[in-house]
């Protein structure tokens, strides 16, 4: 009896020791896996058609096979309109991983974020416990992840069925569940091994593998797809010159390329939502030129026209997110960057910490932002705007001379952030002025999604007044006659 008890005790101690060791090991490798994953990745191949990991065709059901064959036939005749990315709408998963654009991985202990190079899309992978409960299927779904040693495992559900899985039009239903296993290989490449389950379209679960490499020259920039359409260019540029130059299959060693570790004592990191929406910037000291534009806008509206601003045309600038807060934001902090992901309008702001503005900034919608901490206040200085943004619903204008200074102050209880934004734009305002907005902590695990380009409707533009010619849409949703469903039709609206 004594012998049996001793043995049991020994086994228990051994099991506990193994468990503790395993737990510590998992934690340690998760941290190193997270570090290795950070940074910018460029697709090795960006396949137009996904294959299984053994190079075979996916196990499509008969109906799905017929649909895919029809789409391939259309594609052969130059018709890719089954793919929403062609009009700049949401790409879905894993479609965005097959696009010829880099993506950047950032994150902290609570979430891993994929910032994709194509039209401001991002994925926020929640690392909390439990599964997602999608209230409505969305383009990028509701990814939940965990670490298994140095492998990030992501389970994504809640994916809307209006997207395709690759450029060949591989279909999926809303039953689609993706399980990704991401790890950095010994040669420095990133491997994403994806298991695809969708019983409506595939006879069995199947696996595909995508690989990516680092390229020091690649950057994820503020990509605005509708501008390409307006210039008569395709929504997805091919091939990406950055990919072409980085044709090497071997990447930069992970330890050399990993950067931007999350700060330990993050102050603003988390998910936030506006305390109140803001649509108006009252009492702005408009110059004569500014008054002229606002007066013109008002006259158009009084005549019954519907005003179309940058925001409505899916080209919002960073300044409009300061003046018209909407929906949730996700903030990530690292030593050299504070990153803010905006749900609505969708955009990513990168605030380089303790840095200087470059000599020659290429003007853009989000500008160039640098930040510094003054005590517990984050001070953000932004310039380099392109002038295509309105401050509010009256269409108060901005110019490339716009310069903003924001002060993000966390409340003592940590549950809200007050943001003061000082706006200076001598082109349209006689003096600098300041507006205040407040955000509160959000209980959400994921931001929702704002797929702006999916629905410029014919009705909305029949009576439109475009504040700037650039805002005129190229593609619109046109309702079908009788029983025919609606469809997107591209061609410059007049």
């Amino acid at each position: 009896m004594l012998h049996r008890d001793s043995l049991r005790l020994l086994l228990c101690v051994a099991a506990l020791a193994v468990s503790a060791s395993s737990s510590a090991g998992t934690k340690g490798t998760a941290a190193s896996g997270s570090e290795a994953l950070r940074g910018t990745w460029v697709p090795d191949a960006a396949p137009r058609a996904l294959l299984t990991s053994s190079g075979k065709a996916p196990p499509l059901t008969a109906a799905a096979s017929k649909l895919n064959a029809e789409r391939r036939e259309r594609l052969a005749h130059g018709d890719a309109s089954f793919d929403p990315t062609t009009w700049c709408a949401g790409p879905g998963m894993p479609r965005i991983l097959t696009m010829q654009y880099p993506f950047e991985v950032r994150g902290d202990a609570s979430r891993i974020v994929f910032i994709h190079g194509w039209y401001r899309w991002f994925r926020v992978v929640d690392l909390g416990a439990g599964t997602a409960d999608p209230p409505l299927p969305l383009t990028m779904g509701f990814p939940v992840g965990h670490w298994e040693r140095n492998t990030l495992v992501i389970r994504t559900t809640g994916l809307i069925d209006s997207t395709v899985m690759d450029a060949s039009g591989l279909p999926h239903s809303e039953q689609l569940a993706l399980t990704e296993r991401l790890q950095v290989l010994r040669d420095g490449r990133l491997e994403d091994r994806i298991t695809i389950e969708d019983p409506e379209n595939y006879t069995q679960p199947w696996e595909t593998v995508l690989t990516f490499h680092r390229d020091a020259a690649s950057r994820v920039t503020d990509d605005v797809c509708p501008d390409r359409l307006a210039r008569g260019e395709p929504a997805e540029q091919a091939p990406n010159p950055q990919m072409r130059s980085a044709g090497a299959k071997r990447g930069v060693p992970a330890e050399a390329a990993a950067s931007n570790p999350a700060v330990e004592a993050a102050r603003l990191a988390g998910v936030w939502e506006p305390k109140t929406f803001g649509f108006m910037v009252p009492n702005a000291p408009l110059s004569a030129a500014g008054q002229d534009i606002v007066g013109r806008n008002a006259a158009a509206m009084q005549s019954g026209k519907i005003m179309q601003t940058a925001w409505v045309s899916c080209r919002p600038g960073a300044v409009s997110t300061m003046t018209m807060p909407r929906e949730k934001i996700v903030v990530l902090e690292s030593a050299d960057e504070v990153t803010i992901l905006f749900e609505m309008p969708r955009m990513v702001r990168r605030i380089r910490m303790n840095a200087s503005h470059p000599e020659n900034i290429e003007p853009g919608y989000v500008g160039d932002s640098i930040g510094r901490w003054e005590g517990d206040t984050l001070v953000v200085d932004t310039l380099g705007f392109n002038g295509y943004a309105e401050l509010d619903a009256r269409g108060q204008p901005t110019s490339p001379k716009l310069h903003t200074l924001e002060r993000f102050t966390l409340a003592a209880d940590g549950n809200s952030i007050d943001i003061e934004t000082t706006i200076e734009d001598p082109e349209y305002y006689t003096q600098p002025f300041t507006i205040k907005r407040s955000w509160k902590k959000s209980p959400a695990r994921h931001p929702f999604e704002y797929d702006c380009m999916e629905n410029p409707r014919q009705e909305d533009f029949e009576n439109a007044y475009y504040v700037r010619e650039r805002y005129r849409p190229v593609c619109m949703r046109v309702e079908g006659e009788d029983s025919a469903l609606s469809k997107m039709v591209c061609g410059r609206a007049e």
């Binding site: 409505l136 299927p137 649509f279 609505m344 704002y450 009576n463």
Partner: protein, 153 residues
């Protein structure tokens, strides 16, 4: 069907709708006449969960027996989720009655106030929450007139 509503999550929208014509400029709400209400009954042809606004396309019998297609704005995906809508709350083929505020241009186009199923269940659009509507008459105060609880037959 019991529809859960997070009041706090839609209050900002109600406040936004109270921005009178300014909000109208931001969205397309200027095109609707919130002082009027029209009730139509028909068959849902298509539900479009799209941004910035979601729509239901509905086929309604005209006086001469012809089918008239109505486009009814119902809100936006994020707003409607907070109002209790889910992907399959309304489906193509459903026969529903919609009380809406019509477009000013007289076309078969409007913004949803209340959708009622044949069995009495209801779903609300944001127009139900803004009194007479933005920019037309004083809107209902959210504090004075909180959104009603979801209705069941």
């Amino acid at each position: 069907m019991r529809l859960g509503i997070r009041l706090e999550s839609i209050l900002p929208w109600i406040a936004a709708a109270c921005f009178a014509r300014a909000a109208a400029a931001h969205h397309s709400t200027a095109e609707f006449d919130y002082t009027k209400q029209v009730t139509i009954k028909g068959t849902v042809k298509e539900v479009q969960w799209t941004n910035p606004h979601s729509y239901i396309q509905m086929l309604v019998d005209g006086e001469g027996g012809e089918k008239i297609q109505w486009s009814v704005e119902i809100g936006s995906p994020s707003l409607n989720v907070n109002l209790g809508w889910r992907k399959n709350s309304v489906k193509a083929g459903d026969v529903v009655t919609m009380n809406l505020s019509p477009a000013r241009n007289g076309k078969p186009y409007g913004t949803l106030r209340v959708l009622t199923f044949d069995d009495g269940r209801t779903l609300e659009g944001v127009a139900a929450r803004v009194g007479a509507g933005p920019g037309v008459a004083p809107p209902a105060s959210p504090s004075a007139a909180p959104p009603a609880a979801p209705k069941e037959p």
